[in-house]
């Protein structure tokens, strides 16, 4: 681990090489949870920062994780300090964004098999989670419960018979994309800047090697430009080694071991508990109720493919299904409706198998590589993003001699300032109960702003995506205030089009709305809808099974019929 600068460390030059004042104090590369976390932290301290995101906010691991703010029970025996700080930070996140967290009770069943082994295993789990219980109050978690086989059969009737007993423990779930958006929104309200769909193409360095800004290219308009700064933070997760390369550093300056993980999501909540079981190779996998669906995950394999195109493969999907089939046979006839995949930016450790690699994080000071003023954030977890961002921001503040303490653990995120009873949205807005509850989940107190839109323009109360559901007002709100510029972006923020119909009913309309709001043509709107539909179809192709095949075939017919794509023999006026 590199030594971090002490408070009062040598400040970076005041001026850029051309003798001009830099545009901002800090440029942050990457709009995942760590980049957005730093942007918010710096903005709260009054440090002027600008974030560049190549794709969209939460496009990478942060929007494709298992969505758990866990307390790190896996570190309990090896490194209890990690468990302590994880639980503490889980508590902080819960305080600043209470609307975004939902309780997920986990269940670890123990099967009869060899009677003695089962009893021993159960006793061991019981003891282990008694230890974990000590940390639960930090995150308002409930203590674990030891259950008998009969109790489990009642509580989770879908499990196969032969359960000897089991233990439950408490964790929190979160929508990772919403967490990133909340951080960006707060930062922007406090003067921070963020540009999405804008890739950093180069890290600018002085003759002495120090970093003084970046060059960028807007991937939608092609516009290129530069932004100068006193410090540069590389928060590009699994892309980190590529990013340091943009500054002329060797990839091992920010070395990670990229671990791909995929999830399958299934229509509806199939279980009451998140059930943990073992895959054929002994790894733990889970089937968990998450928001309004079930999530099956996850895998962990070295990945050296294209980071902008991480798609679940059939092998990965089948490995997961096979793991769960044995304990929860109903999964066979459940309807898989999508997949997501991300790459973990795990700290590098050669020769260690993927699972044993630590999920710890580290700030790398590239002064050691001749690039003073450039830092990389390596590793980390959703659950520890706030802490990691605080550590990074402390370094930045020290170098810039800004003596303002971190406030990200006490200052609420947007939506967390005020709680709103979804019933109020029903009564005041005429929304249906599910629509209101889902809206409140995503926006917390800010859902009142969406409600205001509907009251101003009643037609915006129309439900566009009926699966989730998502209203026109919410689509317009996220385009107005949350940097969404296409259908994919809207989907990432609202979960539009991710339900059982695969966007067949809502993508085109969403495209019309987004095009209208961003001054683009209806044709552009249709193109972005198709881009979304094709992308999600590609992510679904690995899971197409008996229950979903008919829907897929119907979707193909609808797209051809309504959007005139691959028009039939009769020809199409749009194409002639």
């Amino acid at each position: 681990m590199q030594a971090l600068p002490a408070p009062g460390a040598r400040p970076p030059p005041e001026l850029d090489p051309n003798g001009r004042l830099p545009d901002v104090d800090v440029v942050i590369i990457g709009g995942g949870v760590n980049g957005t976390g730093v942007l918010r932290d710096l903005s709260l301290r009054g440090i002027k920062a600008a974030l560049f995101e190549r794709n969209d906010i939460a496009f990478g691991a942060s929007g494709n994780s298992s969505g758990m703010i866990h307390g790190g029970p896996r570190y309990l025996t090896a490194d209890p300090d990690v468990t302590y700080s994880s639980c503490l930070d889980s508590g902080h996140i819960q305080r600043i964004a209470p609307h975004l967290l939902f309780r997920i009770p986990f269940l670890m069943p123990v099967f009869r098999g060899n009677g003695v082994a089962a009893r021993v295993a159960l006793t061991a789990y019981d003891a282990f989670f008694s230890l974990y219980d000590r940390y639960q109050p930090l995150k308002r978690g409930k203590p674990h419960v030891r259950l008998t086989g009969d109790e489990i059969a009642t509580l989770e009737p879908g499990l196969v018979g032969g359960v000897h007993g089991g233990v439950t423990f408490d964790e929190w779930g979160i929508d990772g994309a919403r967490l990133c958006i909340a951080n960006v929104s707060d930062a922007r309200e406090r003067g921070g800047q963020a540009r999405t769909h804008t890739t950093v193409t180069q890290i600018l360095r002085r003759d002495d090697g120090s970093a003084y800004g970046i060059s960028y290219r807007d991937r939608l308009t092609g516009e290129v430009g530069r932004m100068t700064s006193r410090l540069v933070v590389n928060a590009t997760g699994a892309w980190a080694p590529i990013t340091t390369g943009l500054g002329g550093l060797l990839p091992d300056a920010a070395r990670i071991r990229p671990g791909k993980g995929v999830h399958v999501f299934l229509d509806r909540r199939l279980t009451n508990y998140a059930i943990i079981t073992s895959a054929v190779d002994g790894r733990q996998v889970f089937l968990m109720p998450w928001q309004n669906m079930s999530v099956l995950g996850t895998t962990d394999d070295d990945y050296y493919g294209d980071l902008d195109e991480v798609v679940a493969s059939e092998d990965e999907v089948r490995y997961l299904f096979q793991a769960v089939e044995g304990v929860f046979p109903g999964i066979r006839s459940a309807r898989a409706i999508g997949t997501w995949g991300g790459v973990r930016p795990t700290l590098w450790g050669f020769g260690v198998n993927e699972d044993a690699l630590s999920r710890e994080h580290q700030v790398v000071d590239h002064a050691a590589h001749g690039a003073d003023g450039l830092y990389s954030m390596i590793g980390g977890k959703l659950a520890s993003y706030r802490l990691f961002s605080e550590e990074m921001s402390d370094v930045v503040a020290a170098r810039l001699d800004v003596r303002v303490a971190c406030r990200t653990h006490v200052s609420p995120l947007p939506g967390g300032e005020q709680s709103v009873d979804p019933m109020r949205l029903v009564l005041d807005g005429g929304m249906e109960a599910v629509t209101a509850a889902r809206l409140e989940y995503r926006h917390g107190g800010r859902s009142l702003r969406v409600l205001e839109r509907m009251q101003r323009a009643p037609s915006e109360a129309a439900v566009v995506c009926t699966c989730e559901p998502v209203t026109e007002a919410e689509i317009r709100y996220v385009v107005d205030t949350e940097l969404a510029v296409n259908v994919d972006d809207v989907s990432r923020r609202t979960r539009l089009g991710l339900g059982a119909c695969g966007g067949m009913r809502c993508a085109a309309r969403c495209g019309r709305i987004v095009a209208d709001m961003t001054g683009r043509s209806p044709d552009d709107g249709r193109r972005m809808a198709l881009q979304f539909l094709e992308g999600s179809a590609r992510r679904r192709s690995a899971i197409t099974g008996p229950e979903q095949a008919r829907q897929e075939a119907l979707g193909l017919a609808v797209i051809r019929a309504e959007l005139g794509v691959a028009a039939s023999s009769a020809g199409d006026f749009e194409n002639d």
């Binding site: 129309a462 067949m504 679904r540 099974g545 609808v558 039939s568 006026f573 749009e574």
Partner: protein
């Protein structure tokens, strides 16, 4: 089997979509006694009101008309529910034909229903290549057409049913008149009646063109098809039964069908018009214990399936085909292998429509193929 007897040949058609009704029609006209069995809604009952496909012969044209489809010699423009102007050969006659409206201003009725964003749709139509070329304009006009609050949210089908009531059609005509008496033509959402012909009635009441856009799956266009199909079959004297066929066995002597309720049925020839994956005529299965892996017909028959150039016999993966490799489009390319007259390799078995591999998935294709298969089936049954 029937040779030398006065009794007409018997043909059983399995499937109640465009292909099935066409096969029944042709078999009856060829002198056969026809029973049509169908399980549940297929693609035809879910279609959008647009009929693409090859040019039709006189008989097919007659049947298309009976099913409420207006077929034109040249492609003509219609508006889809998703803001596209498409050219089509055939359309449910309630769909507004835009051809005569080129160069005019078309009013798009903004009735305040949740599923109908008239303003953005009007803009989308106006900016289409066709509208720009012909200088046609679409303008959203607010119309007070909802009588109850819930009408804002009910499905297009349910709202369409309300327009089966004559007084309601008159009320809508008045509302349109009030909203803009000078509008040259009205384009409305896909809910102009199911059993009634509300579109032509409105056009007559307002003496100007009035019509709708294409339907969403489960909308009025498919429901109209089902009503008209039943009427056509009744007039033909076809025995229409709702039943799931579980198996078909055939030999040179004839065929035997097994139904879901346990009963059986004999026939001289059988036409399979089962539809594709969207209809449930072809299933994707994963039942290792029964050997059913990958694609299978919805009934058991000695008829192999084909995907692209491959026969899908015994599987090579317990999970079925790889859609990552073949693309989801495989769901529309898979089917049985029939010749141009709809003959399958098994004796006395014929097929038509979406259940046939590698054919375009269109209404007129299903209709034409259904007629050929029906004719051929009746011919074979009569001793051919």
């Amino acid at each position: 089997m029937t040779e030398g007897r006065a009794q007409p040949a018997s043909v059983v058609v399995v499937g109640g979509g465009f292909a099935g009704v066409a096969a029944a029609w042709a078999a009856v006209r060829a002198g056969a006694h026809v029973t049509l069995l169908h399980a549940s809604a297929g693609a035809s009952a879910w279609y959008n009101g647009v009929a693409d496909g090859p040019p039709l012969d006189a008989e097919a044209l007659e049947l298309a008309m009976r099913l409420g489809i207006a077929v034109s010699a040249r492609p003509r423009p219609i508006a889809t529910r998703e803001g596209v102007i498409r050219s089509v050969i055939g359309r449910d006659r309630a769909l507004l034909d835009l051809e005569p409206l080129a160069g005019l201003s078309v009013a798009v009725a903004d009735v305040g229903r949740d599923d109908w964003d008239a303003a953005l749709l009007a803009r989308s139509y106006t900016e289409s290549a066709w509208a720009r070329r012909t200088r046609t304009e679409f303008v959203a006009v607010r119309v007070d057409a909802l009588e109850e609050g819930f009408e804002r949210r009910i499905s297009a089908y349910d709202f369409g049913v309300e327009l089966d009531v004559e007084t309601r059609v008159h009320a809508l005509a008045n509302a349109l008149r009030r909203a803009d008496g000078a509008a040259k033509a009205w384009l409305l959402g896909p809910w102009l009646g199911v059993a009634s012909d509300a579109a032509p009635q409105l056009a007559a009441l307002l003496s100007r063109p009035v019509g709708e856009v294409s339907s969403a799956p489960g909308g009025v266009a498919g429901a109209r098809f089902e009503l008209r199909r039943d009427e056509v079959l009744r007039e033909l004297g076809v025995v229409l039964r709702r039943a799931h066929v579980t198996s078909v066995e055939s030999s040179a002597a004839g065929a035997r069908l097994q139904l879901g309720d346990g009963s059986g049925l004999a026939a001289d020839a059988v036409v399979l018009a089962l539809g594709g994956v969207a209809a449930g005529g072809i299933l994707l299965e994963r039942e290792p214990a029964s050997g059913r892996l990958g694609f299978a017909l919805s009934l058991s028959a000695d008829v192999p399936l084909k995907l692209d150039a491959e026969w899908l016999d015994a599987g090579s993966s317990v999970w079925g085909p790889s859609f990552v490799r073949k693309g989801l489009g495989a769901l529309e390319r898979v089917g049985v292998s029939a010749d141009v007259r709809g003959r399958l390799s098994a004796a006395r078995l014929f097929a038509a429509g979406d259940c046939v591999a590698g054919r375009p998935r269109t209404v007129l294709e299903a209709l034409s193929a259904g007629l050929s298969a029906g004719r051929a089936a009746a011919g074979s049954a009569a001793g051919g």
